[in-house]
């Protein structure tokens, strides 16, 4: 899979470049999404090792590997290779010794802003084995030993320790909670059935949530991360919208109006559920007030309306309608007012998702008969194609920090789940087993 860096098209202007995607792959190289965020300057960070302090050989290395990948994916830090800068990284201990001072000085001279190190060990108690991890942080800008964290837990949570430490680093330098502890819900094929799963954001620790032996489709998270809401087939004949509580596995039906009931999306405050239903004929959009249970119809036309996604402030919805022939993106107020068309390029634009920062809407665009990822600004002024090449890309979903998307693609044959930076760089495949993995949905941050 290759990526296109930027294709902008100013509607109403002269440039409509989407039709010539292939020729632009190497052009416009320096204009990334970050250009819209002038404050965005990555912080150089070096990991000076997680030492083993009693325990299996793999322990420190495992934590270090997970931590480094988290740091890199955060896109907040620029992970630097200390050894290639000639910085020796002996055991720095707690950072108070004379040896540490030498390392800190080297790091500062080489422009490394943040130095991170730690140790991890396994303690066998009278009952269970316990992993202990300590992480330390030095800031060369302020020449300060910032402090650190101490974690304890069972050996099965070493990855989670690294994730939590990575998020503390992001939190320290941005005030944001980080994404290393987020989860991705998705659909995986089990025989001929499709069941819901949840995995860590980096593709590890997949767990199965449903086992009906039929279809469960397109899960979405509740804002509080406690529930998934999705389309399920009651005895294979009708599509309902169900919810499942992750902590308990309790599951129940919330919408069963008859006909097709699909693409549920909870408003950011959890007070409304937007969804598509064909119970009055063709697929229309509705809004359920989750407190009063009142249902309000939002669209009225003989075409298919579906896939609503909320703006972060909850005031607007972007959705798909084929009222003009093929599917296109439309915007409207969340109570159904002021409908206007957003996409005009190409004859197939669908599966929109509004970014948590509000500045982009990601969707599936068809170009040269391939289904690829695009983003468009809500005012329609900027548009960019993120993926190219063969294969059907589907179901984009934003990371809560707005810096990544997760999506499914058949680029490698079978449908698998991938992560991509919001500017179209750095595609990472997340699933490697199974015959079909699709419909990823990224959890909110905690």
């Amino acid at each position: 899979m290759t990526q296109v860096k930027l294709i902008s098209a100013w509607f109403g202007g002269v440039l409509l470049l989407a039709g010539v995607v292939g020729t632009l792959e190497s052009g416009a190289a320096d204009v990334f999404l970050e250009a819209t965020r002038p404050d965005f300057q990555k912080i150089s960070l070096g990991v000076a090792g997680i030492q083993n302090a009693g325990g299996p050989d793999w322990l420190g290395g495992r934590i270090e590997e997970v931590l480094k990948k988290d740091v890199k994916r955060s896109l907040v830090f620029d992970l630097v290779d200390l050894s290639s800068l000639g910085i020796q990284t002996p055991d720095i201990g707690n950072g108070m010794g004379a040896g540490s001072k030498v390392v800190f000085k080297q790091a500062a001279e080489k422009g490394v802003s943040v130095l991170v190190w730690g140790k991890a060990g396994l303690k066998v108690g009278n009952k269970d084995a316990d992993v202990n991890m300590e992480g330390f942080v030095y800031d060369s800008g302020s020449d300060e030993l910032v402090g650190g964290k101490r974690y304890a837990g069972s050996p099965s949570v070493v990855r989670l320790m690294a994730h939590r430490f990575a998020d503390e680093l992001v939190f320290r330098y941005t005030g944001e909670p980080g994404i290393a502890r987020t989860k991705i819900a998705y659909v995986a094929e089990q025989g001929t059935a499709r069941e819901l799963f949840v995995m860590d954001y980096d593709g590890y620790d997949a767990r199965q949530l449903t086992a009906d032996g039929f279809l469960n489709l397109m899960p979405q998270w509740s804002p509080d991360r406690r529930f998934l809401i999705f389309t399920a087939y009651r005895n294979r004949n009708t599509q309902d919208i169900d919810m499942i509580e992750l902590a308990t596995g309790k599951r129940w039906t919330v919408i069963s109006l008859g006909g097709l009931n699909i693409t549920p999306a909870l408003s950011p405050d959890g007070n409304f559920l937007a969804f598509a239903s064909s119970h009055e004929g063709n697929s229309e959009l509705y809004r359920l007030d989750t407190r009063t249970k009142a249902i309000q119809r939002l669209t009225v036309n003989p075409s298919g309306d579906l896939s609503p996604s909320w703006s972060p402030n909850g005031r607007e919805l972007v959705f798909v309608s084929d009222r003009g022939g093929g599917p296109q993106l439309f915007l409207m107020g969340s109570e159904g007012s002021n409908v206007r068309r957003l996409t005009f390029e190409g004859d197939y634009n669908a599966a929109p998702v509004w970014s948590p920062r509000g500045n982009w809407i990601a969707y599936v665009c068809r170009t040269h008969k391939e289904y690829k990822l695009c983003v468009i600004s809500p005012d329609g002024q900027k548009r960019m194609q993120l993926t190219t090449g063969p294969g059907v890309d589907d179901s984009p979903s934003w990371s809560p920090d707005g810096r990544h998307l997760v999506f499914s693609s058949t680029a490698d044959g079978k449908s698998h789940i991938y992560m991509i930076d919001a500017d179209g760089k750095d595609i990472e495949r997340l699933t490697f087993v199974g015959t079909h993995n699709s419909a990823p949905s990224w959890s909110p941050a905690s």
């Binding site: 503390e168 009906d212 509080d224 294979r236 599951r251 699909i262 579906l306 084929d322 059907v392 905690s446």
Partner: protein
């Protein structure tokens, strides 16, 4: 490498669980669409709203406070990291086995009826001449088996989005249903359902396969 192994073993464990646990008596996941609200949830609305097909709804807004991040500390106290487990264990219910048996019974009944699929063009839900011939054949069977109930399934090929294909599949199923009604089959004997691109007949990435998947598929209902 590590990652593949790790994920493999997770999947293996899960498949083993699926194979070995169908008789398990304790269910922690309600499968097959049982309507059961979670505990501690507001009782849902008026009787009107329960009639209208709306179930109970929890408060899903973000709770204040929360979060595990406490900041870096010069003298950090120990934090316990839990086993990630916001996730309940799944015990496969008997639902999977029951559905499998019902699907097999439906397939056998539909094969015996000699139903033919209606095939559709790319992005299209228009019934072609070939499609009409297939449905003429299917309608004959329905007229000579007047008590049979039939489900018309709409399917799509893998191209396009999962969501839009569900809508497209419903358009195909309804087009086939409407033509059968025109031929004189009672509308009350026909139901429609869309499976979008989720139950393909063929999984190659090739036009021959895509054509087989863009179909209206008739199924004799054998259960309730």
């Amino acid at each position: 490498m590590n990652k593949t192994l790790c994920t493999c073993s997770v999947m293996l464990v899960m498949s083993l669980a699926l194979i070995s646990m169908p008789g398990c008596s304790k269910k922690s996941v309600q499968s097959g669409g049982d309507s059961q609200p979670a505990q501690g949830m507001a009782k849902g609305g008026s009787s009107d709203s329960s009639k209208s097909g709306v179930g109970s709804f929890p408060d899903t807004g973000v709770q204040s406070g929360g979060g595990e991040l406490r900041g870096l500390d010069k003298n950090p106290s120990e934090e316990r990291v839990g086993n990630g487990t916001m996730l309940a264990k799944v015990d496969p219910s008997s639902s999977a086995g029951r559905q499998m048996a019902e699907i097999r019974a439906e397939q056998a009944a539909s094969a015996a009826a000699g139903f033919r699929d209606v095939l559709f063009g790319y992005d299209s839900w228009t019934i072609s001449e070939d499609g009409r011939q297939a449905l003429n054949n299917d309608a004959e069977w329905m007229k000579s088996n007047p008590s049979a109930l039939v489900k018309v399934e709409g399917h799509c090929d893998e191209r396009g989005t999962a969501a839009y294909n569900l809508v497209l599949g419903e358009k195909r199923a309804k087009a086939a249903r409407n033509y059968l009604v025109e031929l004189g089959v009672g509308a009350n004997r026909l139901s429609v359902v869309s499976y979008g691109k989720e139950r393909p007949a063929c999984i190659e990435h090739a036009e021959s396969c895509y054509q087989q998947n863009r179909r209206g598929h008739l199924v004799v209902k054998t259960g309730k």
